[in-house]
């Protein structure tokens, strides 16, 4: 059984016991434990079930590469699935539960899949569930998803908060092991701004477990001294629990800091995303140990040799009384020695190599440990935990020489440098034959904006696995002056590449050799994929799901590649690796969202009258990021009823509209008229000071992109109104043309949209309302239609435009934003006797549709020309050029068959459905019914007492009186007659009084 030893555990505080639960059982651990170490200390070796076969699984690793020990953490608003027990810090009250099992972890019905394993090879789903096709979506997939899968997605809103922060440094050191600290010291002493980030809560990486000396001091002492030295330097930032997730273009580095994962609910943000601009990244990310592929290497109790050592030294946890070591290298002997020194039994070290004469094997032998060279494991015995191993020859086919009873197996297949950060931006790798590993190719680094290398690997990440090489390499990688720290460790003999154990294993054995533990990918699956033609590593990966589990192939991708290369009879470098993509380990969605949730999810733009509207119970319409009142329903009134009432208020009395969201861009300069003549399709330079003119803006293709009224404020100054959603876009459009195309023109622009609150006063009583407040002459003589004037109304400075989008007598009052609400209130108060009400955009849309006025975005969709809108009059024939002029001349845009604007009236007076299409005879090449037009806007008109619509219809204006058929979603046909789009006051008499 696994248990806590009486002594040892450099990371735990035995004076600080903690309580936690796993699947409801109350257990105890210590401050400094991970969930995995605490579970092992409580003899909870079984921590999960595999994805496909539901095999019982214990931890195989002790860090980020762990594929098995995934649990659900927390409950309700703090529930999170798929948390690695090996990197989850224990805290008092932690509640974890196991995943992918039913009814319990110990007794899992899904394990029937395991018995069927020989019928569930790689590609099983692809081959089996292809036909009949609809069955996949409706039958096969739901059933498969039910039986596979890991933790359930949380259902409640996340209780925690998250944030982001931006930082800049010259040198970013990823990893705070001995290589990272060496590099940080070297870089910091040169005066550079240095950040050192480590994913773990403690510094030093794994060197304190592996032992050795640096500068004559034990590694742990040296680490503490180095940390102290860095902490005193003002140019160094140290952050633990901060995982460098990815290196992106131009030295942009993302890192995730776990602030309160281990102290939930303490008021701190749970996690923080660091967005760092680094001049140079030093990836001191270490190396990860590889498993060996032997039959039964997934039985709980089989662990990486380094993990066994970690649990023992860091957390004082014994993997069992007897541990068999199986290895192809010297490093694993460290585990044998550590176990023996802790008083535990090591029945044998099975070394696949023919010779083991390095310092460490000799040391093991000196401790009386039995070392068997040329030997391998034929099979691990036991199901839910190891009970023993069968020994065979590595060179043979697995004939059993001996049974060794044991509780644990510590395996080591060598080490793979963590090259992820090097590779994210395109750094290339080379295959190191001696180390049987991919390591960074110094000749092909990832390059930054200047073309210079922007990432350098240091220490074990660069392939310098031995302590002495590691610190020397790190010192040089950081450009350190003077001598590097001197590391001293036992001399190690080379490893032997061993990808399958024994080398002649028959298929029955290969089908029980796990490569990807979480996704149940075995040696036999990779070999099958190769036989079936998936010879590209990227294809083999997707066919078998090798490396697609949550550990993303960290544990054993290299083993899979090597097996594939043997099956293809090619070298490992020829097969190559799959692509390393960020993030290094999963990053929470909350971290990426940061503070952007709830009220901060998206900026809400508010007009000066926003709160007034809210107080009045406005029903909102989103317009860009603005909210505009759609209508102001009175108590008991629906939005439709309110809209009808508001329409009639404008037609019969007067009503106010908050028009503040309209874009207002001032354009000034000697070339302003010339500039606007280019920007608008009609002529603006001839506009007289004091007058307004409606204009259309086109893009280069000739399509309408915006419209609005332009007022000439002075000889060289124009104010351009844009659509509500278009202000920023059109301002940018203007600046684009001025800065990139016509930099010699003397024109300046400023976006004054938000400087003004704008109030439209419309209706037959509008003038009377303004005169009630008084302050300026708004008579038809002083302020004629399409004119503007400046003055004061109600003591508020205003510019008043005589423009109308409703067809009624209308004034638009622009007041400074800080006084607009006051003016609005005065107008409402003064209008009480006149029956003045506020009206929303719902009424505005009906009013303008009755008049046949278009809205950019309703009647246009980016493919509509002025001629399509019957607005050829707004396209100048005299101007030499304007944006869109040549586009409009293209044959497709002058085609007489184009769909053009008309009014539509249903024969029965009903309201046409939004977006309905008018059908034509016949079907198109896709077998779809042909169409000849569509509804662009459709409303009930209270003024006319019937449904009205605007639409685009093929040759529409030539077909007045014709009846079209519009199928509805329900299948019924609605008939509508093509009519003049202007349904109300065709002469425009009402607006010009």
């Amino acid at each position: 059984m696994t248990t806590r030893l009486a002594r040892g555990g450099r990371l735990i505080d035995r004076g600080a016991p903690l309580e936690f639960t796993f699947d409801g059982a109350r257990l105890r651990g210590y401050q400094g434990d991970t969930l995995a170490s605490a579970l092992l200390a409580n003899d909870r070796l079984l921590m999960g079930r595999s994805f496909k076969y539901h095999r019982p699984r214990g931890p195989v690793a002790s860090g980020v590469e762990e594929p098995n020990a995934l649990v659900n953490l927390g409950k309700g608003a703090r529930a999170e699935p798929n948390c690695r027990a090996t990197t989850t810090e224990l805290f008092d009250g932690l509640a974890a539960s196991s995943q992918n099992r039913w009814p319990s972890l110990d007794l899992d019905v899904g394990v029937v899949n395991d018995a069927m394993a020989r019928f569930l090879p790689a590609g099983f789903y692809y081959k089996t569930f292809m036909f009949p096709r609809p069955f996949w979506k409706h039958l096969f997939e739901p059933v498969i998803r039910q039986s596979a899968g890991l933790g359930p997605a949380p259902k409640d809103r996340d209780a925690d908060r998250y944030e982001q922060i931006h930082a800049v440094c010259d040198v970013l050191v990823a990893g705070g092991g001995v290589a990272g600290l060496t590099a940080a010291l070297a870089a910091a002493r040169s005066g550079a701004r240095v950040m050192v980030l480590d994913q773990a809560p403690h510094w030093g990486g794994r060197a304190p477990v592996d032992g050795g000396e640096i500068d004559g001091k034990p590694v742990e002492t040296w680490v503490n001294d180095a940390l102290q030295a860095l902490e005193t330097l003002p140019n160094v930032v140290l952050r633990s629990r901060c995982m460098v997730a990815g290196v992106h273009d131009h030295g942009h580095v993302l890192a995730e800091e776990r602030i309160a994962d281990h102290s939930p609910g303490d008021g701190r943000p749970r996690r923080r995303l660091w967005r760092i601009r680094a001049g140079k990244v030093i990836a001191a990310t270490g190396a990860l140990e590889r498993p060996l592929a032997f039959a039964g290497n997934d039985v709980p109790g089989v662990m990486l040799a380094s993990a066994v050592r970690d649990y023992l030294v860091n957390w004082g946890v014994s993997p069992g009384d007897r541990t068999v070591i199986v290895t192809n290298n010297d490093d694993a002997y460290r585990t044998a020695i550590a176990l023996r020194q802790a008083g535990l039994a090591v029945p044998a070290v099975l070394d696949a190599r023919e010779r083991a004469e390095g310092d460490l094997p000799q040391q093991a032998r000196a401790l009386g440990i039995r070392v068997e060279t040329g030997k391998a494991i034929a099979r691990v015995q036991g199901r839910k935990r190891v009970t023993g191993v069968q020994v065979c020859l590595q060179a043979g086919e697995g004939a059993v020489l001996e049974d060794i009873p044991c509780e644990a197996v510590a395996m080591s297949g060598g080490w793979s440098p963590v090259v992820h950060l090097w590779s994210h931006c395109g750094g290339k790798l080379l295959w190191d034959e001696a180390g049987a590993m991919f390591r960074p190719d110094p000749v092909h680094p990832p390059t930054g904006a200047s073309g210079q290398p922007m990432v350098v690997c240091a220490g074990a990440a660069a392939g310098a696995l031995r302590l002495g090489d590691c610190v020397t390499d790190a010192h040089l990688a950081a450009g350190g002056d003077g001598g590097a720290p001197a590391g001293a460790a036992p001399i190690e003999a080379p490893l032997a590449p061993v990808w399958v154990m024994p080398q002649g294993a028959p298929v029955a054995m290969r089908a029980k050799m796990w490569l990807d533990f979480q996704n149940d990918v075995k040696v036999s699956d990779i070999q099958l994929a190769a036989r079936e033609g998936f010879t590209s590593v990227e294809h083999a990966k997707r066919y078998t799901t090798l490396g697609m589990a949550t550990d993303q192939g960290k544990l054993s991708n290299i083993n899979g590649l090597a097996v594939l290369s043997q099956a293809l009879d090619e070298g490992v470098p020829q097969v190559g690796t799959t692509t390393f993509r960020p993030p290094y380990t999963p990053v929470a969605f909350g971290t990426l969202a940061g503070e952007a949730r709830g009220p901060l999810f998206q900026p809400l733009r508010r007009t000066p009258m926003h709160d007034w509207h809210e107080g009045r119970g406005a029903h909102w319409e989103p317009v860009g990021l603005w909210r505009r009142p759609l209508a102001y329903p009175a108590p008991g009134e629906s939005v439709e009823q309110a809209t009808r009432r508001e329409v009639l208020a404008v037609r019969q009395g007067a009503a106010l509209l908050d028009a503040s969201t309209l874009g207002k861009i001032v354009v000034k300069g000697p070339d302003a008229g010339r500039f606007l003549d280019m920007l608008y399709s009609n002529l603006m330079s001839t506009l007289a000071v004091g007058r307004c003119r409606y204009g259309l803006m086109l893009n280069e293709q000739g399509f309408v992109i915006d419209d609005g009224v332009v007022a000439r404020l002075s000889e060289d100054t124009f104010l351009c109104h844009t659509t509500s959603g278009g202000a920023d876009r059109i301002h940018a459009w203007m600046e684009d043309w001025l800065q990139c195309e016509w930099p010699d023109w003397q024109v300046f622009t400023a976006n004054l949209t938000e400087h003004y609150g704008q109030i439209a006063v419309a209706g037959p009583k509008a003038r009377a309302l303004l005169e009630t407040l008084g302050g300026m002459d708004v008579s038809a003589q002083a302020l004629p239609f399409m004119g503007w004037a400046e003055g004061q109304i109600g003591g508020v400075p205003v510019r008043v435009y005589r423009i109308s989008f409703t067809g009624e007598l209308s004034f638009e009052l622009a007041a400074p934003a800080g006084q607009a609400l006051d003016l609005w209130r005065q107008l409402m108060a003064a209008g009480e006797a006149l029956g003045v009400v506020p009206h929303g955009t719902g009424a505005l849309h009906v009013l303008r549709a009755e008049k046949g006025f278009v809205i950019v975005g309703d009647e246009t969709d980016g493919t509509v020309t002025p001629q399509d809108l019957n607005m050829g009059w707004a396209v100048s024939k005299t101007k030499a050029d304007f944006i869109g002029k040549r586009g409009l001349e293209r044959p497709a845009l002058t085609d007489p068959d184009r769909w053009r604007l008309v009014g539509l009236e249903t024969l029965d007076g009903s309201v046409l459905p939004e977006g309905a299409h008018a059908v034509a005879d016949g079907v198109n090449a896709n077998g779809q019914r042909k169409v000849q037009g569509r509804v662009t806007s459709t409303y009930h008109s209270p003024t006319l007492g019937r449904g009205i619509a605007l639409g685009l219809v093929r040759r529409g204006p030539e077909r007045l009186g014709e009846v079209l058929e519009f199928p509805t979603i329900g299948g019924a046909l609605v008939k509508a007659r093509i009519v003049d789009p202007v349904r109300y006051d065709k002469e425009g008499a009402r607006q010009n009084v």
Binding site: R161, E163, Q164, I165, H166, A167, V168, R193, V237, D266, G267, R268, P269, R272, R275, R277, E595, A596, P599, L600, Q602, P603, L604, R605, R606, T607, P608, L625, W626, V666, K668, G669, P670, Q746, F748, T749, A750, L752, T753, E754, H755, Y756, G795, V796, P816, A817, G818, Q819, L821, D822, L823
Partner: protein, 185 residues
């Protein structure tokens, strides 16, 4: 004549950095490709260099782009300064316009004000890099802002009026106690 009201009526939030909406001030956008130095000098206003903000007897001026400045003056001086600029620049193509009501101004105060700005804006806020006299025109969260340091623990930040509430809520949220980073301590 009504008094202008600001977007947030002087709202205030007390976190580990205090966020306060400033009272109304006068702001003028000046755009010109000619030499505006003498015109500004005539109004006792300085001409700041690239990414700089400077204060003279007549008010402050912030560099906004190679042909744009933001003039910061008492609200009641806007008319006079506009008139002064119109006179001094009458032969130089330019645009000078009152934008006082288009903006909201926030004051952020506290020893850790630098890191609270860094949480929202992609700007190097390190001491020695960003100091009083520097101005940045950038984004905070999802909105456009400009800001500068008034002193070592105070940042003045300008945003568009319609998003004043977002800006205020953003910084109030980011400076909640418990979220201290200690990045520039």
């Amino acid at each position: 004549m009504s008094d202008p009201v600001t977007a947030l009526n002087g709202a205030r939030a007390q976190g580990y950095v205090t966020v306060t909406e400033a009272p109304p001030i006068g702001m003028i956008t000046l755009r010109c490709r000619g030499d505006v130095g003498p015109a500004l000098a005539g109004l006792n206003l300085p001409l700041p260099g690239q990414r700089r903000i400077e204060t003279g007897a007549g008010g402050g001026v912030a560099w906004m782009s190679p042909d744009e400045w933001l003039i910061l003056i008492p609200r009641d001086r806007v008319g006079a300064v506009l008139a002064g600029l119109a006179g001094a620049l009458q032969d130089v193509p330019h645009l000078a316009v009152d934008v006082s009501d288009a903006r909201a101004v926030l004051w952020l105060e506290g020893d850790k004000v630098r890191e609270v700005i860094a949480k929202a804006a992609p700007v190097d806020m390190a001491p020695g890099v960003f100091e009083p006299g520097e101005v940045r025109r950038t984004r905070a969260g999802q909105i456009a802002v400009a800001f500068w340091m008034v002193d070592a623990r105070t940042v003045e930040l300008v945003c568009f009026r319609s998003v004043a509430r977002y800006a205020f809520d953003l910084f109030a949220t980011l400076s909640q106690p418990g979220a201290e980073v200690g990045l520039f301590d």
